[in-house]
Symmetry: C2
Subunit: 196 residues, 2 copies
Amino acid sequence: MTAQDISLLGFALLGLVQQKPVSGYDLRKIFTSTPMGTFSDSPGAIYPALERLEKRGLIRSVIEEGSGLRRRRLFHLTPAGTVALKQWLQKPITRGDVARRINEILLRFAFSDRVLGNAGAIALLQDLQQELVAYIPTLKVSVRQQADVMPLSGALALISGIKQYESLLAWTRLAIATYQQRQSPRKRAKKGPAAS
Amino acid sequence: MTAQDISLLGFALLGLVQQKPVSGYDLRKIFTSTPMGTFSDSPGAIYPALERLEKRGLIRSVIEEGSGLRRRRLFHLTPAGTVALKQWLQKPITRGDVARRINEILLRFAFSDRVLGNAGAIALLQDLQQELVAYIPTLKVSVRQQADVMPLSGALALISGIKQYESLLAWTRLAIATYQQRQSPRKRAKKGPAAS
DNA sequence: CGATACATGTAAGAAGTTACATGATTGT
DNA sequence: ACAATCATGTAACTTCTTACATGTATCG
């Protein structure tokens, strides 16, 4: 009965609500102003999705008291919501995830250290790294096999995909190193990872 | 009346049908066996999408004669379909495309040299390059601004996005160079681009 | 007083997902 | 005869998109 039929947008909402109680409006702002917007940024998707999550008991809402502004409905995660979120975060990473649902993996990673701790985040990265190492060579083979039956731009588009995966693989190494440094900080560097 | 309400899957089909007449089954095989599968690979999406395209007069089908196998319905592009495809391929690339619809851009590129010629493919690459050059710095700024209000994994996920864009930018340079080399081939190199 | 930002929603329609149905042909 | 592959489709369901509706509070 732990029905996992929650959309990506639903999980994105679950993960954000977990970080701290927020309103639908707050959530929408996050979606419109960050790359998370790929999971939809329209009220016509967000409010119904929140309703569904509440109906399933994964989040609860309370109308914010006091203030003078229009009523804000603040959502927070329930224990059942935490369980669902953890289950999603801990699902093993498959070939299909890497081939077709790479944003879902990145979304899961984005929430993983708050929910599962550093160890959980590192585990996900290592899983991903392993799948990438296995997957990339198969992509290269298929480009070589198909390059002559498609237009040059088709072949180049495939190559762009390969390069994106290679860049992601390089990033997993950076990210793992960042976490390891955080856990054994010989010299404390005050700030996080560099943006380039 | 040139209603542009065609889904991404629809355009993917249009582009493939343009290359040579194919059946729904052929198309499905392409989707299940290549990264194009991100645009859906289920018969429940493909057959209805083909039907819609045919109703709009963008493709036509004929039942393949002869043979002995079950009837195959072969689709080919109509002149109206060519027009619609060209219009889509030539749409200017916007910030929003780069931020949220990068697969659509790559899909467009994949078809552009067959439909628009080398010059069209190069134009698209240059457009994309220009948008990337403008967009990437804004992403870096927003990471720096937000990095302290989000978990480390959140910040790292954003950085992974930046790195993907940087890798795409590097690829545009490779792709442009490949086309320029093709147009002025001092020494003919027989084969296409290297897969790594 | 009008514009803007805050804040939540709904309705109609398009398009995808999963699962099933159907049928022909080929190989064992 | 049976399984596998070729080949096309349909039905139920879910969810997203676009566009609209509603209402409060603040600022100039």
